[in-house]
């Protein structure tokens, strides 16, 4: 376990202030905030795939956006290879440098490509922005290689096309090619397959897996679908309302889930064998509003095994062995 740490996140907070009415300002009401990310810590090692799973609205995407500097963190630390980002001291790296070493794959391949740019423009953009390859011929070669590596062969057929001429899967390959053209060390994949047709998902996941193998890139794989996680994630982190409630090696968490929320999520993943009977845990109620969080454990209003103590105590992550941690009073 001595592998190099690519990314370390310590106690990350991201609160979005609500628009306050003038009346409330006069009444000196406390400003309301949406606690999108509320104290999250995790790390990613070199070449590792960490899956971040949770319902929509639990703060997964906000984490990715904060990591790459699209949102400013309210609190906490983000260390890239042990270095802070954007600080004044000598040990930190600039945001621009970080954006060269870490790349994002967004969820919606229909929205994340400029409709008026050719595929060549899109894939070569990172090279142009960072002013890396001056020679046009070299840049051309590099773009072609990235496209072919992303499975768009022959690359020459795609260079001068526009995004609307491609299918969703092809577009997502273009996005991945654009992200990999800089040879980054970290890929933040924000639900890269959830907008795609089921038949294409496996292809894109295979592609990401192959890139991890060949390039040794670390991946933060954000998804709401536990079904795709077991496929290639090394470790799994389950998020609920801005917190990580359970984290550990994928196989271990899937086989032996400790947090009731993880259990509920797992119980509703469709099984490959339709005859296999399982007990589904259907959670009652809605996800609480991230403005007014429940007291104690934030999961207790929906938890099937909640106790009296859960109302009062907010559990933190407890080590259960082999790096498996869960934030539940019942976890042992």
């Amino acid at each position: 376990m001595s592998a190099e740490l690519i990314l370390e996140v310590r106690n990350l907070y991201k609160h979005f202030p609500m628009r306050q009415s003038l009346l409330n300002m006069f009444r000196r009401r406390r400003q309301e905030v949406v606690r999108a990310v509320d104290g999250v810590s995790f790390e990613i090692k070199k070449g590792e795939v960490l899956a971040l799973v949770g319902e929509s609205g639990c703060g997964k995407t906000t984490i990715a956006r904060t990591l790459i500097g699209l949102e400013k963190a309210t609190g906490g630390e983000i260390l890239f290879k042990g270095q802070g980002v954007g600080g004044d001291d000598d040990t930190s790296i600039s945001l621009k440098k970080l954006r060269q070493r870490a790349q994002v794959v967004f969820q919606d391949p229909y929205e994340s490509l400029n409709p008026r740019a050719t595929i060549y423009d899109i894939v070569s953009e990172p090279l142009v922005v960072h002013d890396l390859i001056k020679d046009d011929q070299d840049r051309h070669e590099r773009v072609k290689r990235a496209l072919e590596e992303a499975g768009l062969r022959p690359a020459d057929d795609y260079l001068l096309r526009y995004p609307h001429e491609l299918s969703g899967g092809q577009r997502q390959r273009v996005v991945i090619a654009g992200a990999m053209v800089l040879d980054p060390e970290l890929l933040l994949a924000d639900e890269p397959v959830s907008m795609l047709d089921v038949s294409i998902r496996a292809e894109i996941l295979n592609l990401l897996n192959a890139l991890r193998r060949s390039r040794g890139v670390s991946i933060l794989f954000i998804t709401h679908d536990l079904g795709t996680v077991g496929y290639f994630a090394d470790r799994l982190a389950v998020m609920y309302l801005g917190r990580i409630v359970e984290v550990g090696p994928t196989a271990e968490v899937l086989k032996n889930p400790q947090h009731p929320y993880t259990k509920a999520l797992l119980s509703v993943v469709p099984a490959a064998n339709p005859k296999q009977r399982r007990k589904m845990v259907i959670l009652s109620g809605e996800t609480p509003n991230p403005i007014n969080l429940p007291s104690g454990c934030r999961f207790h209003p929906r938890c099937p095994v909640a106790m009296e103590a859960c109302r009062a105590t907010d559990p933190s992550l407890v080590e259960l062995g082999k790096g498996h941690q869960a934030a539940c009073l019942l976890a042992k």
Binding site: R65, I68, G69, L70, L95, K96, R99, Q100, Q103, V104, F106, D108, E111, S112, L113, N114, P115, R116, A117, T118, D121, E125, P126, V128, V129, H130, L160, R161, Y162, H164, E165, V175, G178
Partner: protein, 318 residues
């Protein structure tokens, strides 16, 4: 689809195919184009100079000669050929109108892009300036400005003053239009992607914002041109043009001052008036059609192009 053609050519061809279907747009294009051609080839289309006095056999100036006596459009009070003045005047009117229109477009786009893209304080500042200009009545302000600058005797051609004043005052609606469009574009994910890649503001504006609003700018420019030409005519009619280089507005001013109407010399005042209508109508028709085709607000095709444009607009008509 023809693979050998470049994307740009393909766009242009698709655009032309869509444009050709619209009769009003074609008419507008025709009106504008004829005016430009007449202005460009003015020296070839008349044997006279605009200031030249036409004389009869006895050497007397041929004043207020109706079209039946001289040329296609007769002569004015000083015996100058009206047709010649008209096509030379087109040069002045169109130049001032186009230059002023482009300045207005440039300033308006710049304000709109900066305000929309940077938001916050920049937006507030720029939009308050816009608001102030928006509420001051245009024509009186321009009159005062042009007259004041003239008083200063700076030895600038009156036409330059006219162009600058119109251009620097008539960009407010453009700025608002562009700003609102930029606001929607900058929230789109490909802008986020560019930021996440590490692109700077200039790069994002140039490569991601500008290409999306360019069609809108083009359509709006044509509309602003017609207004600039109208305003130029108005100011020139009020005597703020250059008397040595008469535009259509100046011609109307002369006709009015020298009692062409009481003399029944319709050939003196009707042609410049109709010419103004001709060009501004052409610009408006062309601009409206271009706007309809290119403005995402009016078509709902969300800045897409090609096939998707047809598909979505088809859905809307259901």
């Amino acid at each position: 689809m023809n693979e050998s053609s470049t994307p740009f050519k393909r766009h242009l061809r698709d655009f032309w195919i869509a444009f050709r279907r619209n009769k009003l747009g074609l008419l507008g294009g025709f009106l504008v184009l004829t005016a430009i051609i007449l202005a460009l080839f003015a020296p070839l289309l008349t044997p006279y100079q605009p200031t030249e006095v036409i004389r009869d056999e006895k050497g007397r100036g041929l004043t207020f000669a109706p079209p039946s006596v001289h040329g296609p459009l007769g002569t004015d009070d000083a015996g100058r050929d009206v047709w010649t003045q008209l096509i030379y005047g087109a040069r002045i009117s169109l130049t001032v109108g186009f230059m002023a229109g482009f300045i207005a477009m440039f300033v308006g786009s710049l304000f709109g892009i900066l305000a929309g893209y940077f938001g916050g304080r920049v937006d507030n500042l720029l939009m308050r300036i816009t608001d102030v200009l928006l509420v001051i009545p245009d024509l009186p302000l321009m009159l005062v400005l042009v007259a004041t600058v003239r008083q200063m005797e700076l030895n600038i051609s009156p036409l330059v003053v006219l162009t600058a004043v119109i251009g620097l005052l008539y960009w407010t609606s453009t700025a608002r239009l562009i700003r609102s469009q930029v606001l929607t574009i900058k929230e789109r994910q490909f802008v986020d992607r560019a930021r996440a890649i590490g692109a700077g503001h200039m790069h994002i504006i140039r490569k991601h914002i500008l290409p999306q609003i360019m069609p809108l700018i083009v359509a709006n420019t044509v509309l602003v041109l017609s207004i600039a030409i109208l305003i130029e005519s108005g100011l020139a009619f009020l005597g703020l043009g250059d008397p040595t280089k008469p535009s259509w507005g100046t011609m109307l001013n002369f006709a009015f001052d020298r009692s062409a109407i009481t003399n029944g010399a319709w050939w003196f005042y009707l042609p410049p008036g109709l010419a103004i209508v001709w060009v501004s109508l052409g610009c408006v028709l062309l601009g409206n059609v271009l706007e309809e085709m290119l403005n995402p607000r009016l078509t709902g095709h969300h800045l897409e192009d090609g096939q998707s444009m047809i598909a979505v607009s088809g859905k809307r008509s259901e």
